[in-house]
């Protein structure tokens, strides 16, 4: 530091300390990522960079400033709203409406049974059909989905990872039957199975065969579908599950490296497929951090791909889709979500995303309505048309703070990537359960910060709205959806050539036994009207179905509450309970149906255990009947049902029935947590649910309520 600038800084520091009555060092705060944020940054903070180049231009190495030279000045980002509504017919209507109102690409959400490779008529998926997305059982559903939408002109993004083979095959066949050759299809399939094992849990097969399937799809598309992105490597769900930005960034890029290796093992040259890899990040409320993350991601990816020997410039460039954070949305005071989403959207734009989904404000409660979806889309239209953000490329370049943050994030992420590589890559790390555990630890810390009030969430733990507005939400009659789907499957099964279908499925099973590319026999089977479930089962015969072991963190939540009054109150209530009842209160925490989002369940389990509960953790994908058996055999006092996919209206009454079937006098109480529209509260209470905890519920308060309910219930005996 030169003397002159040093003097200037000293003077500033004095003024700062005088104004704030704080030492400069006390004014430094630490982010979730463990990065120190200073109250001011100077030119000196641009020194000693190892990743970010101080002077680079957009569209040039290392692409920190953007994948293209002109960026939004030439063409703004693509507004791509993710949506799927129960049936192919409804979704099709919704898509056509959106295309008319200025949207340029489609994004399909599938329902959980489709993700997990089950047909709608499978008993296992009773409560899940048409929830959280559209049900696809056969290519006929896919054809309805894109009815009157020309697939050679519209880019289609499909969030599909588990059942990628039958779904992509259906898309290809639907295109062909529309008269569009597969080489003209454009869009993306998510096809990112590694993160499923870490956070989202909508996998079907074990990690190794799943990686083979990913490689098959990369191979097939690189040869036959030049306009189609074979994979969207996603950090989104990691952040949603509670990962901080360093974990999201590092694990996503490490996943990417693993996919590159998988494709290269098929004998492909890196430049044959790398230009068609795409990414998907979440954008949360930490405004500058999110901007820095996108800049860091591009910087690191360019380095990674150069190390893989990529020669084509397009192979070096990270292109990404972004979505505003779902987990930042609150059920309380829900109109605040419009504001949150707007800032998040601005972060994504300043970070240089290629396409964006903005969440609807009611998504913490239900699937969006037409009205809320319009507001979400308008958020982006206003940014594009009114704010002027499209006029200058990477406007924050040169900001001492943002450049420094980009470098810091890159460094921290690189350390984790190096660690994973030393372990032998992401497949191995995932099998060992390391990333999953790290993400859960981060999630639990974040939750503890909100519950203890050290992180403010407006309308939730501070500035609460005394008059909560009531919001109309979309209601789905999933029994009707399921009945309709079952009828359609039956009709197709009656009209198809059964012998040919059987033969095609047998071919597929055989193909799974060697190295054949599975998409080819899959397309044959789908053409003959084999169902998604049949195709998945044909492969399951060889690969088996994957069941995850569940590891849990402990002590992470409780650590944030040492000396906290509310926390100690619950602890002492539990001790008292133990003295009176001869054991601790025991709670079974479960997920039912095909919904694999287990962040909430995990956080509840670990925090309740930290307070002193004995917590039984149920496996994923349980049926209500299985849950009842578990609960009774372990003689738990209560069952906590975590629900995020709207299956509760079917599954909770089934659970109640199951309990009474085994023990007509069962006194086990049931509470429900997660995404539950207020309209469903009455229904659940009528079905003897004792308590409902919506998103953003304070866990300590919830725990206290649960222990009180259990005590009351026991004293009634």
């Amino acid at each position: 530091m030169t003397n002159k600038s040093n003097n200037g800084f000293n003077t500033w520091q004095k003024s700062f300390e005088k104004e704030t009555k704080k030492n400069f060092s006390d004014a430094i705060s630490e982010t979730d990522e463990g990065i120190n944020i200073k109250p001011v940054y100077t030119k000196e903070d641009l020194e000693n960079f190892s990743f970010v180049k101080k002077q680079s231009l957009p569209g040039q190495w290392p692409y920190t400033r953007g994948p293209k030279a002109s960026m939004y000045t030439n063409r703004p980002w693509t507004i791509r709203q993710y949506a799927g509504f129960s049936t192919a017919e409804e979704s099709n209507e919704f898509y056509k409406k959106n295309l008319e109102s200025g949207q340029k690409g489609l994004s399909v959400a599938f329902d959980l049974p489709t993700h997990r490779g089950y047909d709608s008529d499978d008993d296992l998926v009773m409560g899940d059909v048409g929830k959280a997305g559209v049900a696809i059982d056969t290519v006929e559903d896919m054809k309805i989905l894109f009815n009157n939408i020309p697939l050679d002109q519209m880019s289609v993004s499909m969030t599909m990872n588990g059942a990628v083979l039958p779904v992509l095959a259906s898309f290809i066949v639907a295109g062909e039957e529309q008269g569009v050759d597969r080489s003209l299809l454009s869009g993306t399939i998510q096809n990112d199975i590694l993160k499923e094992f870490m956070v989202r849990n909508t996998y079907i097969y074990p990690p190794e065969p799943s990686m083979k399937i990913v490689a098959d799809i990369i191979e097939f598309t690189s040869k036959e579908m030049p306009k189609f992105n074979s994979i969207s490597i996603s950090g989104y769900h990691m952040q949603e599950a509670g990962a901080d930005n360093v974990l999201e960034l590092a694990y996503t890029l490490a996943d990417g490296m693993e996919y590159v290796r998988a494709a290269m093992s098929k004998g492909l040259d890196v430049d044959d497929f790398a230009p068609r890899l795409s990414f998907f990040f979440a954008i949360g409320t930490d405004f500058f951090m999110e901007i820095a993350k996108l800049r860091a991601a591009r910087t690191l990816w360019a380095k990674i791909m150069k190390d893989f020997g990529a020669k084509n410039e397009r192979s070096l460039i990270l292109r990404t889709h972004c979505q505003t954070s779902g987990v930042s949305l609150t059920e309380k005071d829900p109109y605040n979500n419009i504001i949150r989403t707007s800032y998040e959207a601005l972060s994504a734009i300043l970070g240089g995303t290629q396409s964006l989904h903005t969440n609807s404000f009611d998504e913490a409660i239900a699937l969006p309505t037409d009205e809320s979806a319009r507001i979400a889309r308008n958020t982006q239209l206003i940014l594009q048309n009114e704010t002027g953000v499209t006029k200058t490329v990477d406007p924050l370049a040169g900001s001492y703070f943002v450049e420094n943050l980009t470098e810091e994030l890159s460094k921290k992420a690189w350390d984790i990537i190096t660690e994973i590589e030393e372990l032998g890559g992401m497949t191995k790390a995932v099998k060992a359960g390391i990333p999953k555990l790290k993400i859960e630890e981060s999630a639990t810390k974040k939750q503890a910060k909100v519950d203890s009030g050290s992180r403010v969430v407006v309308g939730v733990n501070k500035y609460k709205n005394p008059k909560e507005p009531s919001v109309d939400v979309r209601v789905i009659d999933n029994n009707r959806v399921r009945d309709d789907q079952i009828k359609k499957i039956q009709a197709i099964k009656e009209s198809r050539d059964t012998t040919a279908v059987k033969k095609a499925l047998a071919n597929l099973t055989n193909a799974a036994k060697d190295e054949t590319n599975l998409l080819v026999p899959c397309i044959e089977a789908i053409k003959l009207r084999a169902t998604v479930g049949e195709v998945s089962k044909a492969l399951e015969q060889v690969y088996g179905r994957h069941f995850a072991k569940s590891l849990s963190v402990s002590g992470v939540y409780g650590k944030h509450f040492e000396g906290d009054k509310e926390f100690m109150k619950v602890e002492s209530k539990i001790k008292e309970f133990e003295n009176v009842n001869g054991r601790r209160p025991r709670v079974l925490v479960v997920k039912m149906g095909q919904d694999g989002h287990d962040r909430g369940a995990k956080i509840v389990a670990t925090s309740f255990a930290d307070m002193g509960f004995d917590v039984d953790m149920g496996p994923l994908f349980q049926s209500p009947k299985d849950v009842a058996k578990d609960a009774i055999e372990n003689d738990v006092h209560a069952i906590g049902v975590s629900t995020l996919a709207a299956g509760h209206k079917t599954l909770v009454p089934e659970l109640m029935k199951g309990l009474k079937e085994i023990d007509p006098k069962s006194k086990i109480i049931v509470f429900v947590g997660g995404i539950i529209p207020e309209q469903d509260y009455e229904f659940l209470y009528e079905n003897n649910v004792s308590a409902i905890f919506g998103p953003g519920s304070n866990i300590i308060e919830s725990a206290e309520k649960v222990i009180d309910l259990i005590s009351d219930n026991l004293s009634k005996e």
């Binding site: 539990i574 001869g582 496996p619």
Partner: protein
């Protein structure tokens, strides 16, 4: 007792409530559970109790899931008592067994109960023994007792079962040194898991290592210790396991070892319980008299030696 009849009928909720009673730390519950057990032992069932232990990471639960599935497919009724290590900081536990026994937990012919260990040695307590009596009375053919392998705990667990099984992983041959020292006395069967894929060679080698090491430890009147190779994930070797278990049980019954063992175990538990009662009585007396702090002060001031203090306190405590 109404509960007794329900247990004999095999009612799931009654079995569960009874296990809660025997595990309870409440005096009134303990009284009821004593009555209950005295009723239940009048009509003993025919269950074989099998202990499973092994170090973390060898795929114990996966093995039990796999072997258990095989047993229920052969129409056996199976009860599982799983001891889960408790968190020691707060006393609350996360009991995650069920996430590893997905398939068998659904089967109507199984009863699976996990118990937090509460810091006792390997989690085995009087409660575990009583729980196995309840499952026996309820008509379960096999009762599995699963513990976490932490040295001493195997010995306690082996005192609860008719057959004790140690599950190990490939490449654990290095641990043989430790195994020689004690566990051979307690374990009847050694199961080398993960005999699949890349680990197959390693698993066979490990099994051979165990076999040769164990052959030195054969007692005259006992069957040779068995070493079996299985793959829990591929479900291979399960028939061998049940065949071996049945063989050992039959042999032991024939030679009288089966009953002898149960008698020895009973002695062990009586002794343990008496010791427990005496120990807690002594602890109470010690605290109420406050002798320890009184005499340690004297030792600190060099008024007496530590040994004198110990002798005085002991005499005074046992006086009553």
């Amino acid at each position: 007792m109404e509960l007794v009849d329900k247990i004999f009928k095999g009612e799931r909720a009654a079995i569960a409530k009874a296990i809660t009673l025997v595990e309870s730390s409440k005096d009134t519950d303990q009284q009821i559970s004593r009555q209950l057990i005295s009723e239940l032992i009048k009509k003993p069932g025919k269950s074989i109790r099998v202990g499973f232990s092994g170090p973390p990471g060898v795929g114990k639960s996966t093995f039990i899931e796999s072997f258990g599935s095989y047993l229920v497919s052969q129409n056996y009724k199976l009860g599982i008592l799983a001891i889960d290590p408790s968190s020691q900081i707060t006393g609350g536990s996360i009991l995650g067994d069920k996430t590893r026994m997905v398939e068998i937990s659904k089967n109507p012919n199984t009863f699976i109960r996990s118990t937090p260990s509460r810091g006792t040695l390997g989690g085995i307590s009087m409660g575990t023994r009583e729980a196995s009596i309840i499952l026996d009375a309820a008509g379960y053919d096999f009762i599995f007792i699963e513990t976490v392998g932490v040295g001493q705990s195997e010995i306690v667990a082996s005192n609860l079962v008719d057959i004790f099984t140690l599950i190990v992983g490939p490449g654990s041959g290095d641990e043989l040194q430790g195994i020689k020292k004690g566990i051979t006395e307690y374990a009847d069967i050694f199961i080398v898991n993960k005999n699949d894929g890349e680990l197959k060679m390693e698993a066979s080698k490990t099994a051979a290592d165990y076999k040769s090491a164990l052959s030195y430890y054969k007692k005259l009147d006992e069957l040779e210790k068995q070493v079996l190779l299985v793959s829990a994930i591929e479900q291979t070797g399960m028939e061998d396991v049940i065949k071996t278990i049945n063989q050992i049980i039959d042999q032991n019954k024939l030679k009288g070892i089966f009953d002898e063992r149960r008698a020895d175990q009973l002695e062990y538990w009586i002794e343990e319980e008496v010791k427990n009662i005496i120990a807690s009585d002594i602890t109470n007396r010690l605290t109420s008299k406050g002798n320890i702090s009184k005499y340690s002060e004297k030792v600190m001031k060099n008024e007496m030696s530590m040994y004198e203090a110990v002798e005085t306190i002991t005499k005074d405590t046992l006086k009553q």
